[in-house]
């Protein structure tokens, strides 16, 4: 007897067909994400080239060492997601490790925002502008939007990984389903990491 969760979902007739459709959908979604964050990165560079002095003033106030630590956390989490896909015996351990690193990333980001609020440089959390140049304020607005949006993506990725971890622990997924969901969540995780790889030097490093 074949259990219903061992068959591909309607209207697919084979697992390979369902996996290909899922891959296509996921890559289309990732493309839209790349375009959205790509636009933010382009705007950041536009600011950098148009208002170099104001942007330099804003960048000098950012906590780039904390952000460097956060980059290491995300790169390590991507390694764990890759290992989860390649080592079936350690899937759950790798997933849990990646989720913990994602939570640590969000915690460090929160600490960073806290420091910036304390220093009065984070837009929306201070009544008076501490910047000499108005363009510094513009760049900080962009910094806040880009990093908060990215943080939201990390939060979603952590939620997905924890859901998969829980489903694997309770053995609620058939092997085909588990493999497909792991592949899709890994793709999303890696793209979130890739976006940070480009956001980090654009916002924190260049022109310090």
């Amino acid at each position: 007897m074949i259990r219903s969760d061992e068959r591909p979902a309607e209207p697919f007739v084979a697992w390979a067909q369902q996996r290909e459709a899922a891959r296509l959908g996921m890559w289309l979604f990732l493309a839209s994400e790349a375009m959205m964050f790509g636009s933010l990165i382009m705007v950041a560079w536009f600011f950098r080239l148009r208002y170099p002095d104001g942007v330099a003033e804003a960048v000098a106030g950012l906590h780039y060492l904390l952000a460097t630590g956060n980059t290491v956390l995300l790169l390590t989490s991507s390694l764990l997601m890759t290992l989860a896909a390649s080592e079936p015996r350690r899937v759950r351990r790798c997933l849990l490790g990646a989720a913990v690193l994602g939570v640590l990333f969000l915690f460090c980001k929160g600490v960073e925002y806290g420091l910036e609020i304390h220093e009065g440089v984070l837009p929306g959390f201070t009544d008076h502008s501490t910047w000499q140049a108005p363009s510094a304020q513009l760049f900080m607005n962009l910094y806040f939007i880009a990093t908060a949006l990215h943080g939201l993506h990390v939060l979603i990725a952590v939620g997905l990984v924890l859901w998969l971890y829980s489903a694997l622990k309770r053995r609620r997924l058939a092997p085909h389903q588990a493999a497909m969901r792991l592949e899709m969540i890994s793709l999303y995780w890696h793209l979130v990491d890739g976006i940070w790889i480009l956001l980090f030097p654009t916002l924190y490093l260049v022109g310090r």
Binding site: R23, L24, W27, L28, L30, A31, A34, M35, G38, I41, M42, W45, F46, L49, R50, Y64, T68, T71, V72, L75, T76, S78, L79, M81, T82, L83, A85, S86, E87, S186, L187, H190, L191, D193, G194, I197, L198, F200, P201, T202, Y204, L205, V206, G207, R208
Partner: protein
């Protein structure tokens, strides 16, 4: 991807991160080097962790779309800088 391969890519990603941070700390004028290192990291991630090297068909096509989007950004940045 094998465990050894994944670790090698991870090592390369960390090395490129070190290049970026050292450049930002000691040679702030080398913004181009920092962004090239970041583009190298993105390429490594795209090829090996996202798995572009082992896929064909439209997955590879999307990989090219990402890379071309990076190229569009570079052209925009350099074009804006040159025509100001």
């Amino acid at each position: 991807m094998s465990r050894a391969g994944a670790l090698k890519v991870y090592g390369a990603l960390l090395l490129l991160l070190v290049v970026q941070v050292v450049c930002a700390r000691y040679w702030p004028g080398l913004g181009g080097v920092i962004m090239f290192a970041a583009a190298g990291q993105f390429l490594l991630l795209l090829l090996f962790y996202l798995g572009l090297y082992r896929h064909h068909g439209w997955v590879r096509l999307f990989g090219w779309v990402y890379l071309l989007w990076l190229l569009v950004m570079v052209v925009f940045i350099l074009g804006e800088s040159a025509t100001r």
